[in-house]
């Protein structure tokens, strides 16, 4: 027989250890399909590691991939902390990207120190506006934001395609559905010469630090946590639950919008309808893996970006499918969910135990340290 009992207070070691352990478990589990694909496991993982750490260029590629994931991961983490289920980061990303090319691709020919901040601010504003729609629907009419944000993704994507065939289409683009490029002075500067990693990474890291600080130390963060953890008590204590929700929605949408800005203005230069390979959705995984902590988002974004980049080079070298990366990421998510469960509950096996010396006493010691 098996019983599940709640732990009273998961220790710090447990909360930090579970995500790391889950990541390792995911990598170990991925060895099974790798073997089934007929690849030598250790050599394959060696290739993967080389793809990530093998050279400065390899690692810079990982950082490039990390950048949008930090933004969308933060967008999900902050919203989820307030129990605002923003599944629409993908759409908000495209809105941000669209705003960036709308203002940056020749509409305004102003110096870079004006244009660059303008692109960033407008991109964030566009993402925020995109999230305000479902947030208002939720606070006003009680519409489930999981549904509305998810469906808005498709609406935004079709809108982007329409714009790329219409007003935003590059007249010099030989008929391809893509926007005109962002003016050179509007592009985010590169961090290392001849490599693709750009200033968007710095912005992402700064915002992660700001988010971490605000969550713990600001009144806004206090309200966000209170609303997310117990909206009834928050309301009873005079905290405006709807107002807090709306402000969190704006910040979350803005962060997702910045992911789009950083991809077009930092990397691609122009907008296409395949700008994002699902960064918005992967951001949710990043946030969950990070336990919804902004600082943790940086680490888990790095891990997931590393898996993707590493798997790419592994698939090139070993001839296995690069979908293996998706497999590792999904298994990491599953393990972290399972791991999170075990951090909160403990499993007890067997109905009979020798009296006196039960796991309960072990937990007593655990708590003594905690």
């Amino acid at each position: 027989m098996m019983r599940i009992e709640p732990r009273e207070a998961p220790g710090r070691l447990l909360t930090l250890g579970v995500p790391v352990l889950s990541a390792l478990v995911a990598l170990a589990l991925a060895a099974i399909p790798l073997m089934l694909a007929g690849a030598p496991v250790f050599a394959a993982y060696g290739e993967m590691a080389r793809g990530v750490f093998g050279s400065l260029f390899a690692f810079s590629e990982v950082l490039t991939r990390t950048t949008p994931l930090i933004f969308t991961g933060l967008a999900a983490a902050l919203a989820f902390r307030a129990k605002l289920w923003n599944i629409g980061a993908e759409g908000q990303l495209y809105l941000g990207a669209m705003a960036a090319v709308a203002v940056g691709a020749g509409a305004l020919d102003v110096p870079g120190w004006v244009l660059m901040p303008l692109i960033v601010v407008l991109g964030a504003a566009a993402g925020a506006a995109g999230m305000m729609v479902p947030a208002v629907l939720k606070t006003r009419f009680g519409a489930d934001e999981v549904v509305t944000t998810l469906l808005l993704n498709f609406i935004v994507l079709i809108f982007v395609q329409m714009m790329l065939e219409g007003p935003l289409k590059d007249p010099m683009g030989l008929g391809w559905p893509q926007s005109a490029p962002i003016l050179d002075q509007g592009m985010l500067p590169q961090l290392i010469p001849r490599m693709r990693v750009h200033a968007g990474l710095i912005l992402a890291l700064v915002l992660a630090a700001v988010a971490q600080f605000m969550l713990a130390r600001s009144v806004w963060g206090f309200r966000l946590r209170a609303v997310g953890e117990n909206a009834h008590a928050a309301r009873h204590a005079g905290i405006g639950v709807n107002r807090t929700m709306l402000s969190v929605a704006a910040v979350s949408g803005g962060l997702a919008g910045l992911a789009g800005v950083s991809e077009v203005a930092g990397l691609k230069g122009y907008l296409t309808a395949d700008l994002s390979p699902g960064f918005g959705y992967t951001g949710i995984v990043v946030a969950m893996l990070a336990g919804l902590s902004p600082a943790g988002v940086v680490v888990s974004a790095l891990f997931i970006a590393g898996v993707f980049v590493g798997a790419d080079s592994m698939s090139r070298a070993m001839g296995v499918s690069s979908y293996l990366a998706d497999l590792v990421v999904s298994m990491a998510l599953l393990s972290v969910l399972v791991g999170g469960f075990f951090a909160r509950y403990r499993l007890r096996l067997g109905p009979e135990r020798p009296p006196g010396r039960g796991p309960g006493q072990a937990s007593g010691k655990e708590q003594g340290h905690g």
């Binding site: 019983r3 209170a226 117990n230 008590a233 009873h236």
Partner: protein, 517 residues
């Protein structure tokens, strides 16, 4: 069964708890409790909250696995046999029935279906209905517990639902009945009737354990009293030889200080409700044309059976719900847009009924919960940033002053015990010296020590000049603390003319004081 044989077996043990122990993390909830229940006996299980009563009963019923010890039940032959631990089905089969404080009935089914549910296979339910009905009616006749069988349970009164729960246990041939705080939701008259029926059933050979906080009913209706404290059985007395003081001392381990309520001259009105109406989802969730005035230096008590509009009244005064008609006045001035924030600003301190749901954010720290109502104060936050050091110092001072004990002020508030959570809320409310205090069921589920502390703080606030609105389902508490008493029934308030239990009890049941028969 011939009565002579029953007399013979009346002293036989039908249930034995043999050294049961249960540990939750660092807490030893139940510590080697040994208890015998005899045939046809009513045993009262008494103890402060957190003394381990419910844990003990849950082990008896197989909900919890004991860490040590065992449960033994007498079979038809009268021989005690150990019950496999952790199997509610085995407990049921052995004839143990449990009625929880919160009923487990399907509201859309009628009483008969509810009684049959789980004991009859679904596919034969229809076919055997007539026979089952006859059996239930037989049980109703013998026990005196009567409930309408063909009405959906959702439309029954609380007392009727409780009878359905008990009938359900009896239908399954329960020979041992466990009742967890059976009178918490009943009027005094309903409670007396219940115990009369229980008395009748025990003469039929049923054995009953009931858990209670109320000394009065324990003394009136049990034959034996077992007292638990800190998970240990600290006393077992024949009720005939017990008195109230002695039991109270056993429960808390010391004499409880008596409450002295000095007479005070009330001042100007601090809280007024003028024609307040509120339409809720049901009649029990509504208020119709409520007029109420609470003056400085007085405690106004609202007595009533649970679910007669207490929640709606509290929601209006705490700002959670806006009345559809009428006005709320604080210190003579109407509150323009009553919401929780406006009420806090107007100087209303609120002690919510459900402290886990409305009182604290369990995942946030004790210190944060202490300042959650004052985020706009410069002592708590400046330029949008929390003043961590001040918050911590403030919380440490409050925790000391109000004796909030637990793993520390930085620990999540949910780790505190119920009594300490209430102390945290008291600290938060009384620290601001509010002119109006709303206390909704402030001592529910608290041990006697913590309850006495709540009473002391309320009286202290009254002496300081605050007006207190005390809503409580515990009539004794209202009688002890309130200067004036109102009874709430079906969303209407009636002032009690006298302080007699009997008269107020009848008003609680919906009969106007004048028409009392």
């Amino acid at each position: 069964m011939p009565p002579a044989r029953l007399e013979n077996m009346a002293s036989d043990t039908v249930l034995r708890l043999d050294g049961l122990s249960k540990r939750f993390g660092p807490v030893l909830a139940v510590d080697g409790v040994r208890l015998d229940l005899r045939r046809g006996e009513v045993l009262a299980l008494l103890g402060e909250n957190g003394a381990g009563k419910t844990t003990l009963m849950n082990m008896l019923f197989g909900h919890y696995m004991p860490d040590d010890g065992r449960v033994e039940v007498a079979g038809p032959d009268g021989v005690l046999r150990p019950l496999p631990p952790g199997h509610p089905q085995a407990a049921l089969a052995a004839g143990i029935g449990m009625v929880h404080q919160h009923f487990t009935l399907a509201e859309n089914l009628d009483a008969l279906d509810n009684i049959l549910l789980g004991s009859e296979p679904l596919r034969t339910l229809r076919r055997h209905r007539a026979a089952a009905r006859r059996r239930v009616e037989g049980i109703m006749r013998r026990s005196g517990l009567v409930a309408p069988l063909e009405v959906p349970v959702g439309r029954l009164s609380v007392g009727e639902r409780q009878r359905v729960e008990i009938l359900k246990a009896l239908y399954r041939d329960a020979r041992i009945l466990v009742l967890d705080e059976p009178t918490a939701v009943l009027t005094p008259q309903e409670a007396d009737a219940l115990f009369e029926n229980i008395g009748a059933m025990t003469r039929d050979g049923l054995s009953v354990i009931f858990i209670s906080h109320k000394l009065r009913e324990v003394l009136a209706f049990s034959q034996r009293i077992a007292v638990l404290r800190h998970g240990r059985k600290v006393g077992e007395i024949a009720t005939a030889q017990a008195d109230e003081r002695q039991i109270a001392r056993l429960m808390v381990g010391a004499d409880t200080p008596g409450i002295a309520r000095e007479t005070l001259e009330p001042g100007a009105p601090v809280l007024e409700l003028a024609g307040v109406s509120l339409r809720g989802r049901s009649a029990r969730d509504s208020l119709s044309g409520l007029d109420l005035r609470v003056r400085a230096r007085e405690i106004v008590g609202i007595a009533g059976v649970s679910g007669n509009g207490q929640g709606a009244l509290a929601a209006v005064v705490s700002g959670l719900r806006r009345p559809e008609a009428g006005q709320v006045l604080i210190d003579g001035a109407p509150v323009a847009r009553p919401d929780p924030r406006a009420m806090i600003r107007a100087g209303v301190g609120r002690i919510p009924e459900d402290r886990h749901r409305d009182g604290i954010v369990g995942a946030m720290s004790v210190a944060e919960n202490m300042v959650i109502e004052r985020l706009d104060s410069p002592e708590v936050a400046r330029r949008g940033l929390l003043q961590k050091r001040r918050i911590r110092a403030h919380a440490e001072a409050l925790a000391r002053e109000y004796d909030v004990r637990g793993p520390g002020i930085e620990a999540p508030a949910r780790l505190l015990s119920g009594g300490n959570i209430q102390k945290l809320i008291l600290a938060r409310v009384f620290d601001r010296a509010p002119g109006v205090i709303l206390a909704n069921q402030p001592t529910r589920g608290l041990d006697m020590g913590a309850a006495a502390e709540v009473a002391r703080r309320l009286l202290e606030a009254r002496a300081r000049g605050a007006g207190v609105l005390l809503i409580s389902e515990d009539l004794d508490e209202v009688l002890r603390l309130a200067d004036r008493i109102f009874v709430i029934h079906d969303g209407r308030l009636h002032e009690a003319a006298s302080r007699e239990r009997e008269a107020i009890g009848l008003m609680m049941a919906g009969r106007a004081a004048g028409a009392a028969a």
